[in-house]
Structure formats: C-alpha cells, structure tokens
Amino acid sequence: MSIAPIALDHADRRAAAKLVFDGVSKRFGRGPESVLAVQRADAYVGEGDFLCIVGPSGCGKSTLLNIVAGFETPTAGEVRLDGRLVDRPGAERGVVFQQGALFTWMTVLENVAFGPRARGVPAAEARDRAMAYLEMVGLKSFAKRYPYELSGGMQQRVGIARALANDPDVLLMDEPFAALDQQTRELLQEEIKRIWKRTRKTVLWITHSIEEALFLASHLVVMTARPGRLKAAYAVDFDSERDPNVTTSAGFTSAKREIVGLLREESIEAQRQEGVAT
C-alpha cells in the first residue's frame, strides 16, 4: 500500500473520464486589484475516483470546487461532466458544505427528503429514501429533530445523507469535517470510505488534513500557492480493511512525509505572498 505519482491530465485517462478540467482558470475582479485564484487546471477524473485536493490556505481549492458545483463560472477553460458543459448547479452534482447549509426550519427528515421532493419524487417514497440514508449515517432516531438540536458531527452527517439521498453522480465536499474533533472525524472518515466503496460515487474532497486525504483518496492532488495550479498528483491506495493499522504503517508515514514536504514549500510561498499583500 503506497502512493504513486500520476499525470491526471494524461491523454490515456481521457476515455474513461467522468469529469474533465480543461484549462480552468478563475480570476476574481479586474485590473491590478484582481486575484488569480486558479490557473490552468487540467485533469481527467475517472468515474468512481475519490479525488482529494490539498493545498495551502487561499490557493483556490474552494474556487475550483465551486466551479464544478456551478456556483462560479471560470474566466477561462471549462469543466465537463459526462461530456456536458458545467455552467450552473445541478442535481447530478451533490454538494456537502463545511457547515451552516442545513435548512434550519425543516426537520432532519425534511432536510434529507428535500432533494427527492424538489425533483418530483412522491412524498411517501422520498420519505422512505430519506429514512434509508438517515439509517446509513446512524441518525434514524433523530429524523423528527431540528438541525439545531444536533451536534456538529451529527449535522455534518445529515448534510452527507441529504446529498446522497438525491443520488448524485458526483459528490463535492469542501472540508466537510473541518469543524469536528479528531475522534468524530476519524469515525466519519471510516463511514465515508464504507459508503464510497458501496456506492462508487465520484468524489471531490477538499481537506487540510493530509492523513484524511491519504486515508480516503484513490487520487490525491497537491495544489500550489496562489494562483492555484496542480503541482503534483498521486494514485493512492491505503486500505484499512486489509490492514486496520494502515495509518501507522511505514508506507503511510513515508507518503505523508512526501506530501508534507510538498505542502511546506507551497505554504511558505503562500505566507510570503500574504506578507507582500499586507
């Protein structure tokens, strides 16, 4: 179990690509005050890939994800999903936010059933489906509660269930576990990995935790400091089912060291930029 460098934009990957980043750039604002957040991102993401994105703060990770979600439009290049241009939000791309995106006025069940209901699934069926996903994330007994009655970790699970209940092709997750404590995080990571193995959804996952990335990912991208470019990419394979102690294995530790080294260079660069900016 190890990581291996890979070229995500290699032409060989094109045929099996689910999601295509084709020279994606994003500039915020105009003129000398403008910020180039993402610069020419090229990548082919295969169906069923679990792609983790790491990079220094402010390097454009969220921007990239928001472009795939359809919340932002790229200033150059394009993103295609199954060959179709991405230019607006859509139900085939489920989004899980860091926090604060649950509908506070709806019960947990209504939150999870929202997607199916909005797309015309009959109420009873939407309810059953929502219940099934709530059971999957271990929150069946909280169906009638309101989000504010739940802990942060439970709310995050509701967010995940809500996205899954809509059966999207692609899941987009922007630091979904950032606000959680270490133990909750690790439990949810295992849960996510289990769900992913079962459903084989294509996942884009942003995180600041290298361990989380190595544990979850099938592919890993390290971004450069702003303007965010794809600095390095790896195929990742750490399976906790084959080895429960994988995260303390030698392979994991050396992989971690390699990524930490790459990130450190970029973080220093990012801090230097901030020093110049202020």
Partner: protein, 285 residues
C-alpha cells in the same frame, strides 16, 4: 444548581435535559416579577400624587386625575358612550382603520418586498418610489389625501398605509437579501426550481426579518392612527381623547390613551406569539 452538580444522587431525580429549561423558566419568571414590580411602582406613584380621594392630591385633578377617577370615567363611557356613540363604536372604528391599513400592508407590502428581494428588476423598478418618498413625514400628506380621497375612511386608511408600507416592504426585501447564499446554493444543488427555492428556503429563512417589520409597524401604526383621527372625523378612540382635551376632560383623555396603549401592547404580544410559533428556529443557526 451547584448543589446538584456536586451531588450525583440529587442529580439523578432531575432529568438533566431539563437543565436549560429550568434555568430559562426561572429567568423568565424573575423578569416577569421585575416588570410587575415596576408597573406597580408606577401605579403607586400615580395614586400617591393624586390621592385617589384618600388624601389631598399633590397635583390638581384637572391635570392628572387619580387612577380611581380614570376607572370611573371608563365606567361612565361604557355606560353612556361618548358624544352620542358607544365606546365600543369608537374602539371598533379605530381598530378598523388600523386593521385595514395593517392588513393591506401585510398582504400587499410584504409580497412586494419579497419580490424586490428576489428580482433585481423588481428592485430597480420599485425601489426609487419607495426610497424617495421615505423621508417625507406621512402625516404631512394627510391634507393632500383628504383633497384626493375625501374626508371619509379612505384618506385615513391611506395615510396609515403610507407609513407602514415602506416599513414592511423594505424589511421583507432586506430579509430576502440576507438569506444565506449557502442555503440557496445547497437547494440549487439538490435540483430545486426557482419557485421551490423561494417557497421552501427563501420564504422561511426571511420570516424572522419579515416579523421584525411587522412588529415595528404595530407601534408606528398606532401613532399614525392618532394623527389620522386628528382631523375630519367625529369618531375613534384617538379622536375621543383629542376632543376631550378641548374640554379639559383629562380623565377621558387618559382612558383614550390607555386604550390605545393596550391596543398596541396586545397587538405586539400577538405578533410575538405568532412569531414564536412560526419561527421556533430563529437565531439557532
């Protein structure tokens, strides 16, 4: 509280989920007691300086009749009415003027505000007339409204509407505009249509802001009622108080003032009650 924390045996017979509930109820009870005490103190002071027939008044009853005298005046008004019309009539006519304007603004002003919040075009179209007329004191327009709409009910209702409409529509607009973009994006990503997003996300998320506008309107509306009944009428509670003042019937003036205060207070309570039921989740995000 601290004893319970120290003694696990004691803690066992109080379900700990109720901790917050108990503390809240205790705080609510205390603040209610304080309000009551402050109210009683005012009443006591009023009784003390006016004597209530028990001792020689400090203030001439012509300027400030005692609470007892005001009560007697109320009794007399209930029995014989004022200027040929029953007290109930005066009350109902005032309530109608207020209610018509209030209702109109809720059913027309709020939706227009929501529309302005949702659509930039609607905002561009409707914002100028509302914004440019906002600084005008609406009571100053009453003579104009009387020329345009006659001395009947219409001009009175319209002058109240003129004051409440911008209040309600602008607060509804701002409520819509401050709905968390993330929640809207979440709904979009779940495949919701624009209409579904409005109905199930934007509208509920705006309710607290809409209620703020409605509650502000209660206070302003009662004030406007007094202004509207100042001229060209011969009924209404505010008119009763105003015309009694001409004859220095201070007790009747006070009855009118207290009825209007009670009206404003009751309506405000009612709004809070409805709000608490409707937006139980407010501020818990």
């Amino acid at each position: 509280m601290s004893a319970r924390n120290l003694d696990p045996g004691l803690a066992a017979d109080v379900p700990d989920t109720d901790d917050v509930g108990v503390a809240n109820r205790r705080a609510a009870r205390r603040s209610r007691a304080l309000s009551l005490a402050s109210f009683a103190a005012m009443l006591l002071f009023w009784t003390a300086i006016t004597g209530s027939g028990l001792w020689k008044p400090v203030v001439d009853p012509v300027f400030l009749p005692s609470p007892l005298a005001v009560l007697q005046a109320l009794q007399k008004l209930l029995n014989t009415g004022y200027q040929g019309k029953s007290l109930l009539h005066h009350f109902l006519i005032s309530l109608m003027r207020f209610g018509l304007a209030f209702g109109f603004c809720i059913f027309v002003g709020v939706p227009i505000g929501l529309l302005m919040g949702m659509s930039a075009n609607a905002r561009a179209l409707l914002d100028p007339p509302i914004e440019t007329t906002r600084p005008i004191p609406k009571l100053a327009l009453l003579p104009l409204f009387i020329i345009w709409f006659g001395i009947g009910e219409l001009s009175k209702t319209i002058v109240i509407i003129a004051a409440l409409f911008p209040l309600m529509s602008i607060s509804a607009m701002q409520a819509v505009r401050s709905v968390s973009i993330r929640k809207i994006q979440a709904a979009e990503s779940l495949g919701a249509s624009r209409w579904t997003i409005f109905r199930r996300v934007v509208l509920p998320a705006s309710l607290p802001g809409i209620f703020t506008g409605i509650r502000m309107s209660v206070g302003v509306g009662v004030t406007m009622l007094v202004g509207a009944e100042m001229v060209a009428t011969s009924d209404g509670i505010a008119w009763m108080a105003l015309s009694a003042a001409d004859f220095i019937q201070t007790d009747i003036v006070l009855v009118g003032v207290l009825i209007m205060a009670a009206m404003g207070y009751t309506l405000d309570r009612l709004c809070r009650l409805i709000e608490a039921r409707l937006v139980h989740w407010s501020g818990k995000d």
